[in-house]
Amino acid sequence: MAKHMTRKATRHVNQNEGLIFEKSSPGKAAWKLPPLDVPEVDTKQLLGSTERKHLGNMPEVSEIEIIRHFTRLSTWNYAIDLGMYPLGSCTMKYNPRVNEVVSRLDGIANGHPYQPEKISQGAMRIMKTLSDCLTEITGMDAITLQPAAGAHGELTGLLMVRAYHDSKAKSRKKVLIPDSAHGTNPATAAMVGYGIENLKSNSAGIVDIGVLEAQMTEDVAALMLTNPNTLGVFEEEIHKIADILHAKGGLLYMDGANMNALVGKVRPGDFGVDLMHLNLHKTFSTPHGGGGPGSGPVAIKKFLEPFLPKPVLKSKSDGTLGFDYDRPQSIGRVRSFYGNFGMFVRALAYILANGPDGLRQTTEDAVLNANYIRKGLEGTYDLPYASPSMHEVVFSDKLQAKKGVRTMDIAKRLIDYGFHPYTTAFPLIVPGAMMIEPTESESKEELDLFIEAMQSIAQEVEEDAELVRTAPHSTRVSRLDETAAARKPILRWKPENTTS
């Protein structure tokens, strides 16, 4: 192994662990109920034929076994807490622990969504304060916190776009989406019943104004734009983009996935965006938790307010807060209750911990870190677009591909160096993309280690390409057979397919 490798990571023992079902045996238990303080019931009499007779293969295990089981499993994961996690467009920043503490305070964790408004003022105050902060940060006029994730926010936003056009009795048929967009954008537009029209990027990797002008018609409901885009490039001609859309009555929807490049420095509401979603689990530090929960608030301009999902939080004349359900033009509900409230608590704690200065500096540091990596790796890896980078930088595997090493191989080799890989093969407009987003959380030392690792891998590609092509070499399992998994899916454990 290369000489640098020991600087960041060392191999050490981790425990083997089977499936929980394989540890189960009758009589083991990790639960205890208090004595019943009401009369026992005759279940057969109460339930008749609806009574359940058996619980299948549910496990029976002890508490220490459960602790060890999940602790052992956890050690097989990489996480932000272990090191840099430079997944482009995912904004894997530090998840402050105070957020976890305040979200578990009794009145917050045990608040029932239907408890009387009188004893829900604390929760509503949290929602109101967060809403105010987010509308100020985005430069918009109003917001809904209801959507449960970014893609859900997109859905909510496009439903509002649709409701808006319908209210003008001019339904429109399609949505423009740049070829650099996240897959959720076209999937969302399809769910809302819109046709999708692809918008080809120009040679700088941004929206081609000429192309947009040609494709913009009165049939276009909206443009879904990520800014900075998925190349990490700010759409410099954003004002022209907005003007072209607005001139033909279309709306500018911004995918806020990359908001970590903008907070405190520039506000989408000021550059012509009509509506946008935020990802609290990206920009505002709520934990990704292995894939969720997220939260995808949608911030809007005033003219879209009638269409907000209901209920809408309102301030009452007596100074208390309440929910307004009387919204005749609302698109309706997109989720039960009020959204992923626990994520609101965490995001607000993050905003309070930063304040105006902290948020601005966060953005500056995120952009600084990405550019530092760009500088450090320029020349070693191909930079397909020379446009200036904001919070993330996209390289390609063009130089290494000559030796038969692709972006996924380099990504897998990074694992051996103690890093989580960058985002591979996205955006689609860059063949062999390597999309790197360090976030503000990383120190110069960690960034230097990363640059060193990437340079070392590039060297390995020249000297021993096979080593990289067969990586990772230090993990419990390596290069799992995904084709076999999809061809004959095994999606659950069954007693007969136990193996060790």
Binding site: W31, M58, E136
Partner: protein, 447 residues
């Protein structure tokens, strides 16, 4: 660092942003706070939020005990601060735990496959219905009126923009779905029937009978389960084609309504139309067992506009809570837990029924029931709140035809003394109503 990249100041890096749009002032948000101040601020909000109240509320959000090891385990940074397990080699912990989650959901629901999670029960139900639309090639949907009203609202939002006509099927005197009305509601264009069991009133539906009616006309049956603990003692809806669940009852805190944990489970034949992530078992290049995200060709990052859904981020960490909860209670504990819920609700219904009208007694129920009082339930609840107890959910907003009805829930955490206190206040209310005492203004007491 700036020097290393040949920049003079940080502003150089923001040059791509047109000058006229740059923000040259501080954001108008609260000033930076110290950790101690943040904790104090939220403690204050916690106190304003019903801290220390006991509750009879259920209605899709259930107050069950959460064994402490759930939080010990999900707080491990390796679970908490990991991303979606796309890089299988360094995500086996998350992947194996999801595989176990999928397995236990299958065991509990009687289905063949379950996904890694959906946002919540309401969106899971809406996505399950859209899945049935794709599977049958039909576009109409029949929805039981006894499905959670907010789930129906979410479905209406999704369905309206998909151009899917919906028919609402009423409930009968028993609280169960009206079978005759259902037969009339299903046409040759009906993709599926959506019911909930136990339904919004806590009543357990005759799933077998409903499935026969639906299947006879080529429609699928989608069953929503909002109170997952019921699966410990209630026969799962094995006749369903798709089950859309809310797993919040499995160790997930109420947190004012979210994050919760939706899940979709179905039969093997339908898996390729299922939305959401799936984890599958496979082997690595050395033949060692391992787990990967699989059947990704259903998903948005591969299929874009042709995906089964736009869902990307799901509720993974919440699913892990549910997973640990299911592991703790397991084969025996689950049944005992569910039995306690059943016993508490049976006792409460019996006590309340001595003074007021408990509805839908003719069909079995789990841990919720509907009570009709002479007085407006807001007024009774207001008095109960004086005892630091939150009463049942008044149903007027959702079911005006039921008059002064409210929906009460008892779990293993509901004490006999809470039940007796509430029963006492209901008895008092009925006595004073009978005596014709002046009714206090509802607005006044509800405040």
């Amino acid at each position: 660092m700036l020097k290393a990249m040949g920049a003079r100041s940080i502003d150089d890096l923001f040059e791509p942003i047109p000058v006229e749009y740059r923000l040259n002032r501080d954001l108008k948000i609260p000033r930076q706070m110290a950790e101690s101040e943040i904790v104090d601020w939220f403690r204050e909000r916690s106190r304003e939020n019903g801290d220390g109240h006991a509750t009879f509320l259920g209605a899709g959000a259930y107050y069950h005990y959460r064994p402490v090891i759930i939080d010990s385990l999900i707080s491990r940074g390796e679970f908490l601060t990991a991303y979606t397990p796309y890089q299988a080699e360094i995500s086996q912990g998350t992947l194996q735990s999801i595989f176990e989650f999928q397995t236990m959901i299958c065991e509990l629901t009687g289905m063949d496959v379950a996904n890694a999670s959906m946002y919540d029960g309401s969106t899971a139900a809406a996505e399950a219905v859209m899945m049935a639309v794709r599977l049958t090639g039909r576009r109409n949907v029949a929805i039981a009126r006894s499905v959670h009203p907010e789930y129906r609202e979410v479905l209406a939002t999704y369905a309206f923009h998909q151009g899917m006509p919906t028919a609402t099927v009423p409930f009968a005197e028993t609280g169960r779905l009206d079978g005759k009305a259902l037969e009339k509601a299903i046409t040759a264009e009906t993709a599926c029937v959506l019911i909930q069991s136990p339904n919004f009133f806590g009543t357990i539906e005759d799933v077998q009978a409903i499935s026969e009616i639906a299947h006879a006309k080529g429609a699928m049956l989608v069953v929503s389960i909002a109170e997952a603990v019921s699966l410990g003692i209630i026969e799962p809806p094995r006749a369903a084609d798709i089950i859309a669940m809310e797993a919040q009852s499995f160790g997930v805190p109420l947190t004012f309504g979210g994050p919760f944990c939706g899940v979709i489970a179905t039969r093997e034949a339908y898996v390729r139309q299922m939305p959401g992530r799936l984890v599958g078992q496979t082997v690595d290049r050395n033949g060692k067992r391992g787990f990967v995200l699989t059947l990704a060709t259903r998903e948005q990052h591969i299929r874009r506009e042709k995906a089964t859904s736009n869902i990307c981020t799901n509720q993974a960490l919440v699913a892990l809570m549910a997973n640990i909860f299911m592991t703790i209670y397991g084969k025996v504990g689950f049944k005992e837990l569910a039995k306690q819920n059943l016993a508490k609700a049976a006792y409460a219904a019996q006590q309340f029924g001595k003074h007021a009208n408990v509805l839908f007694n003719a069909a079995p129920r789990f841990n919720e029931f509907v009570v009709q009082t002479s007085e407006d339930p807001y007024a009774i609840n207001s008095r109960l709140l004086g005892h630091k107890i939150v009463g049942g959910l008044p149903l007027k907003k959702f079911y005006p035809e039921l008059g002064n009805a409210s929906l009460w829930c008892c779990t293993e955490l509901t004490t006999r003394s809470m039940i007796d206190t509430a029963a006492g206040l209901i008895a008092e209310s009925e006595r004073s109503q009978e005596a014709g005492e002046e009714e206090p203004s509802v607005e006044e007491v509800a405040k």
